[in-house]
Subunit: 525 residues, 2 copies
C-alpha cells in the first residue's frame, strides 16, 4: 500500500489566496480523513497564535483513520536538539508523527544557511534521534533533494542515510524548486532506494514548476517510493504542489498501487470540490478526474460511442472517482437523486414532479445557481413543486442606499415594503453594509409577526463572481449559511447585481427556517 | 531540432469557452509565427463558413517562419480518395501541409465506425497517397494510438506504416483519450521509432486527462519523436491538450533539444498572455514558466537566497522565458523585500521610508488587506511614502442606490461628486450593479479630463468575505484586476461595506494607471 501524506494545511497554504481559519482547517482535516488520507500535515505548532489554536483543536478531535503530523526544522546550528525550542514543541505536542525538514544541497549550505556539510549531517541526525527518542515517528523531508543529488549525489544520499540511521521511519526526497523532470527523478530514486536500509520507507514530495509534479510522483513510486506527499487540487506556492487528486487515481486505477478502497476513492470529486468551496476558489473545470469537463463529451460521435462502450472515449469510468459524464450536469440532476433529496426533507415527490425539478435545476444551473452548498434553497425549490411552500411575505419593493459622505463617513440605509396577511409593512434600517441593512429592515418588519426569526443567525456569507473576467459586469453568486442554533442550512442567490443576489439568498434562508414541516417537527428555541 | 506543431486553432478550440473570430485567429497565428512555431494547424477548411473565411484570410497572409496546416480525415469507406469531398478541399487548398486523422484502435473500428481493419488500412494509405501526389506534405495523426497499441500493438503499428509507406512526411501518435502515463508512452514510442522507415518523422500528440500531457510529450521526445503537437496554455477539450508553453522550455532548457532561438523563447510569456487576453481568460497565475507566481518568492530567506544566487530558489532564470521574479509582500516581509519591490517600480525608497512601509503594511494586513495579488495598490502605497503619488481627483461624496421596484425590476444608480483642478464634477450613471454604476459615473466624470482612462478595462473582480462566520456583518475584501491591454495590475479594497471596498479598489486601479512614471514611459494608446 502507498502511504498518502497530505500537506494541504501546511505547504498548500503557501499558495496565493490560501486563507483558512483554524475551524476551517479542522473541517478540512476531517474531509481528508474521510477520504482515507494516512497522514495529515497540519503545520508548525508554534509559528503563530493561529497555528497554536489549530493544534489545540486538533488534539481534541478524533480521526477515523488519519494521523496528524506536525512540521518543523532540524535543530539550529548552535544548540543541542534537546535545547532547540522548535524541536521541544514538536516533542511535547500530541501528534504521533513529526516531520522534519533539513538541507541536502551544498549550494544552500554554502550560500544560504552557511553551515558546514558535516555539521549539517549532525543537525539532521541529532534532530531525528531526539524526536525518535521521545517516541515520535519521524518523517524526514530532504529539502532540494534532487538539485542536491545532481550537484553532489554522494552528499545528498548521506543526508538521507543520516536521517534513516538516526531512526527516521521515512525519508522523503523533495523537489523543492520543482524543476526536475521525470527521467531524473526515476534515476535518483532508484539510487535512494538502494542506498537506505531495508525497513526505512522512502517518500516523494514534488512541485509543479515544470508541469511534471504528477508524473514525477508516479516515476518515484515506480522506482520504489511508497510514501507520497502532495496537496488537494495541487494547492501550493508558485505553480503548486503535486496534486493528490490526480496522483491517487493514476496510482490506483492505472498503475495498480493500492491507495484507497473503492468507496473512499469514489469520494475524490466531492472532497476536491469541498476544499475549493472552503477556500472560495472556483473549482477548475478542466482538472483531471474531478473537473466538470473531465468526462465531458462534445459532438454526436463521442456521445454515441460512449453509449456503445464508455471505453471508446473515457480513460476511466468517471464513477470510480465520484465524477460523472457531463450529460449529467450536476449531482442533483438525476430524478432518483431529486426524489431522495425530497424524501429526506419529508416531501413526497412523484415521478412527473421530479422531472420538473430536474428540468428546473438544469435551467437554474445554466444561469449560475449551484445547489451543492445551498440545501435550504433546494428544499424550497422542491416545496414549490409539491405545493408545500408558504412564502413569508409578499414583497412590494426594497431599496438600499450606500453613501460616502463629504466628511468621509459611509452611511448605509435600507427600506423594505412588504405585505403579510393583507397588512403593509414599511421599515427602514441602517447597517454596516447594504445586505446587513436589508436584513435588519426585513427582520424588523417580520419578527413582529414571527418572533422566532429573531433567533436565526446568518453564520456565513460567501460571494463568488462568475465570469470573473467580465469585471464589474459579471454575474454574482451569493451563498449564505443560516442557523437556528441547532441546524445550519445554505441558501443561494444569483444576479448581475450583488445586492439582488444577496437579497434572494437572505429571503431563502429565512423562509427555509419557517416552512410548515420544520416548524411542526422542530420548534425553534 | 524539434518540429513544433501548434493546434490551438483547431484542437484547442474544442475547449470550454473557446471562441475566436477569423480575424482573431489570424492575429494569433501571427503571434505563433513570431514565437517560432513551425506549423500552425488552422482547422478544417470547409467545416463551416467561418472556417472557410479563415482559410481565405490565411492564404493572403505572409508568415515569417511558420507553415499553415489544414486538417481533415481519411477518405470515407465508400468512395475513392480522389472522389472524397473533404480530401478534394484539402488538395485544392493553399496550405503546404495537410494533416489527416485516421483510426488506429480496433475497439473504435468495431464499435464506433464499423470499418473492417484491412479496409481502414486502405483508407489511410489511399488518402495519404492522394494528397502526397498533389504535392502536399502530409502529417498523419493516428487517433487513439496508445489505446490501440495497448489493445493490438501489431495492428496499431501497421496503421502508422500504411501512412508512412504511402508518403506521409510525419506519423503522429495521438493519446486521444488522454489517459496514458509516461512509462507506456515511452515504451510504445520506442517501438514506433523502430517500426517506421528512416526518413519518416515521428510525432506526439497528448491530452491531459491523467495530468501527464507534458511529461508524456517529453517521454516521447526522449524515445525519438521529433514532431511535437500541443496548444498554447494547454487549451483543449476535457482537461486540455499538451501545453506547448510548458513543453518548449522543458525540452530546450532542461533536456537540451533545440526548439526556438533564445530571443524567441523570451517571448513565451508574452505570447501565452496574449492568447489568454484574446480569449478573455484570466491568465493562470500558477502556470509553469509564464504564470505571475511561477517565480514568486515569499519570506525573507527565499528573497535573501535569490539575491545571493538565483539558482538557490529558481529552477530556471525567469528572463529566459520572458517572465520576471516577483517578490510577494506578506506579513513576513521585511524592509529588503519592500525596497526591492520599490526598485522594480522605479521608486527610490530609503531605509526609513521602507520601515514606514513595513509598519503600514503590517497594520493594513491586520485589517484584512493583502497585497500579494494587489501589486497596483502596493505601488500606490509606496508612492505615497516617496511623495511620488498624484491623486486623480478629490472626492466630495458618492452614493449608490439599488432598488427592487414593485414591478420586480431592479434599478441601480450611482452619483459621484468629485473635484479636479478646482472644478467640481457631479455625474450620475446606471449600472447592472452598484459597483458597475459607480465605475461608470466616476469614469464619465474623469475621462473628460483623462481620456486615456477610457481604455482601462476591469478584467477581473473577486470578492472575499473575511470572518465569514460573522454573516452579513463580516469584513469584505475586494480584488480588482485592471488592464490597459498590455499590462495587468491588481488593486484591493477592504471594508465592512462591500460597496465601499469596491470603490476603494476601483479608485486604486484607475490611479495606478495614471501615475507619472508610468504615463511618461508607457504612453497609453
Amino acid at each position: 500500500m502507498i502511504q498518502l501524506y497530505d500537506t494541504t494545511l501546511r505547504d498548500g497554504m503557501q499558495g496565493e489566496g490560501m486563507s483558512l481559519s483554524a475551524e476551517e482547517k479542522v473541517r478540512l482535516a476531517h474531509k481528508l480523513d474521510q477520504l482515507g488520507i494516512d497522514m495529515i500535515e497540519a503545520g508548525f505548532p508554534a509559528s503563530n497564535p493561529k497555528e497554536l489554536e489549530l493544534f489545540e483543536r486538533l488534539a481534541a478531535e478524533t480521526f477515523e483513520h488519519a494521523e496528524v503530523a506536525a512540521f518543523g526544522m532540524t535543530r539550529r546550528r548552535d544548540v543541542s536538539a534537546g535545547a532547540d525550542p522548535g524541536l521541544r514543541i514538536l516533542a511535547d505536542g500530541f501528534t504521533p508523527v513529526c516531520t522534519l525538514v533539513g538541507k541536502t544541497w551544498r549550494l544552500h549550505l554554502d550560500k544560504v544557511v552557511r553551515v558546514d556539510p558535516e555539521e549539517n549531517l549532525a543537525m539532521i541526525a541529532d534532530s531525528v534521534a531526539f524526536l525518535a527518542a521521545t517516541g515520535k515517528r519521524v518523517v524526514y523531508d530532504a529539502e532540494h533533494f534532487f538539485d542536491g543529488y545532481a550537484d553532489d549525489s554522494e552528499y545528498a544520499l548521506r543526508c538521507l542515510r543520516a536521517a534513516a540511521e538516526a531512526g527516521a521511519e521515512t525519508v522523503v526526497c523533495c523537489d523543492t524548486n520543482g524543476g526536475t523532470l521525470p527521467g531524473r527523478v526515476a534515476a535518483a530514486m532508484a539510487d535512494v532506494v538502494a542506498a537506505v536500509a531495508d525497513g526505512v520507507r522512502v517518500g516523494i514530495h514534488c512541485h509543479d514548476d515544470a508541469g511534471c509534479a504528477v508524473a514525477n510522483t508516479l516515476a518515484a513510486v515506480e522506482a520504489g517510493a511508497t510514501h507520497v506527499q502532495g496537496t488537494l487540487n495541487g494547492y501550493g506556492e508558485r505553480c503548486g504542489n503535486a496534486n493528490l487528486v490526480t496522483v491517487i487515481p493514476n496510482l490506483q486505477l492505472k498503475l495498480g498501487y493500492g491507495c484507497l478502497d473503492d468507496e473512499r476513492l469514489s469520494r475524490l470529486t466531492e472532497v476536491a470540490h469541498f476544499a475549493d468551496e472552503l477556500l472560495n476558489f472556483p473549482p477548475d473545470p478542466d482538472q483531471p478526474y474531478v473537473g466538470r469537463n473531465a468526462f465531458a463529451h462534445k459532438g454526436g460521435m463521442h456521445v454515441a460511442g460512449v453509449n456503445v462502450d464508455p471505453a471508446t472515449f473515457e480513460h476511466v469510468e468517471p464513477e470510480r472517482v465520484g465524477n460523472s459524464r457531463q450529460v449529467l450536469v450536476s449531482e442533483l440532476s438525476g430524478k432518483g437523486t431529486v426524489r431522495s433529496a425530497a424524501a429526506a426533507a419529508g416531501l413526497d415527490l412523484d415521478e412527473a414532479a421530479a422531472q420538473r425539478v430536474v428540468d428546473r435545476v438544469k435551467d437554474l444551473e445554466h444561469r449560475g445557481y449551484h445547489y451543492e452548498a445551498a440545501d435550504g434553497s433546494f428544499e424550497l425549490l422542491l416545496r414549490k413543486e409539491t405545493g408545500e411552500y408558504e412564502p413569508l411575505f409578499r414583497l412590494e419593493s426594497w431599496r438600499a442606499i450606500v453613501e460616502k459622505r463629504a466628511d468621509g463617513k459611509v452611511e448605509t440605509e435600507a427600506t423594505v415594503k412588504i405585505w403579510v396577511d393583507g397588512e403593509r409593512y414599511v421599515r427602514t434600517a441602517e447597517g454596516n453594509g447594504p445586505v446587513n441593512a436589508l436584513d435588519r429592515a426585513l427582520r424588523s418588519a417580520i419578527t413582529e409577526i414571527y418572533p422566532q426569526l429573531e433567533d436565526i443567525e446568518l453564520v456565513n456569507f460567501k460571494v463568488r463572481i462568475l465570469d470573473e473576467d467580465k469585471g464589474t459586469g459579471a454575474v454574482t453568486r451569493v451563498l449564505l449559511d443560516a442557523s437556528d442554533g441547532q441546524e445550519v442550512w445554505g441558501s443561494i442567490g444569483v444576479s448581475e447585481n450583488v445586492i439582488e443576489a444577496s437579497w434572494e439568498a437572505l429571503v431563502d434562508s429565512l423562509e427555509r427556517s419557517m416552512q410548515p414541516a420544520r416548524v411542526r417537527t422542530q420548534p425553534l428555541k
